[in-house]
């Protein structure tokens, strides 16, 4: 299977390169430390850091794999399909991809609302794009369900409570590989 065709960078003829005294991409860890200090939080947030990283190889060709999508977006309150928890605080959920095609709710999450929007589902939950790859045989299938995980300040809740529940749903659905998209 050929690799995805490499798109060309568009710069309108301007040279994007040069010299800088700082990295070009944003450091959200650095920015948020100053930002929340200005909000009156004296202790910087303790971000997750790990030196060791596990690596699981593909169990079979991707063209035979079922792909499961994971998002931090949720259904709008009051519009949850049957089986998706409505109670707050948020809990992990599994829902049919077909039920998300009109978009999910994420206005409560921290993203750049001044510069973009999330009205196009495939910019943050690429169900349609993955279904196209499924139709072309690039992947075996997109799982009928996708999986939502609450954004949480607590590492422990994500690690001990939420992640195992989503793993359990993925195994029940026969998911072979996970495609995760944070907002």
């Amino acid at each position: 299977m050929a690799l995805t065709e490499r798109p060309q960078r568009t710069t309108n003829g301007r040279k994007p390169d040069g010299r800088r005294a700082h990295r070009s991409y944003l450091s959200y860890i650095d920015k948020s430390r100053e930002y929340y200090a200005a909000h009156g939080y004296p202790q910087p947030y303790q971000w997750a850091y790990s030196h060791e990283v596990a690596f699981a190889p593909l169990p079979k060709p991707l063209s035979e794999c079922t792909v499961g999508l994971v998002t931090t977006s949720f259904f709008e309150k009051g519009r949850e399909p049957a089986g998706v928890p409505v109670a707050r605080p948020k809990q992990p959920y599994a829902a049919r991809c077909d039920d998300a095609l009109d978009g999910l709710y994420n206005s409560d999450l921290f993203w750049d609302k001044d510069n973009t929007h999330t009205e196009d589902l495939d910019t943050y939950l690429p169900i349609n794009r993955l279904r196209e790859f499924e139709a072309e045989g690039r992947i075996g299938a997109l799982s009928e369900r996708f999986y939502g995980i609450p954004t949480d300040y607590s590492h422990r809740r994500t690690q001990r409570n939420d992640s195992p529940r989503i793993e359990e749903w993925m195994r029940a659905d026969g998911v072979d590989v996970a495609f995760l998209v944070p907002l």
Binding site: M1, L3, T4, P7, Y25, L26, Y28, I29, S32, Y35, A38, H39, G40, W47, A48, S50, E52, V53, A54, F55, A56, P57, L58, V70, R88, P89, K90, W111, D112, K113, D114, N115, T116, H117, D120, D122, T123, Y124, L125, P126, R129, I149, P150, T151, D152, S154, H155, R157, T158, Q159, D162, S163, M170, D176, V177, F179, L180, V181, P182, L183
Partner: protein
Amino acid sequence: MCHQTIGLIARHLEEAGIPTVVAGSARDIVEECGVARFVFTDFPLGNPTGKPGDVDMQRAIVGTALDLLERAWLPRTTVQTPFVWDADDNDGWRDHFMRVDDSNRDALAAAGEARRRDQAAAKADGRARTS
């Protein structure tokens, strides 16, 4: 914070034997957390799999993530897609986001006070997560 949550669950799944790929726009948070495969697109937070309405770009980013699932042989493999958010002024959105300066310092302090009141109220009436 979304990027950290996703990084942590990606690590869990990978340790459980399920291969993962993360497509995101907060590079430092994902790389510090440490994941197996990461497709980085240097965009404002909100559209990690492509600009709104740009199907070709979305397809290229998702396709790159699929390529990475097949091709990576070591953890911590990051691939950056070639897309630029604003070819005429690509520092504007970066400078604006979470900006702190004399023009907004008082407003941010007031917002922090309001947020702490809301959080205390949420904890009192059970809306905050406690488990």
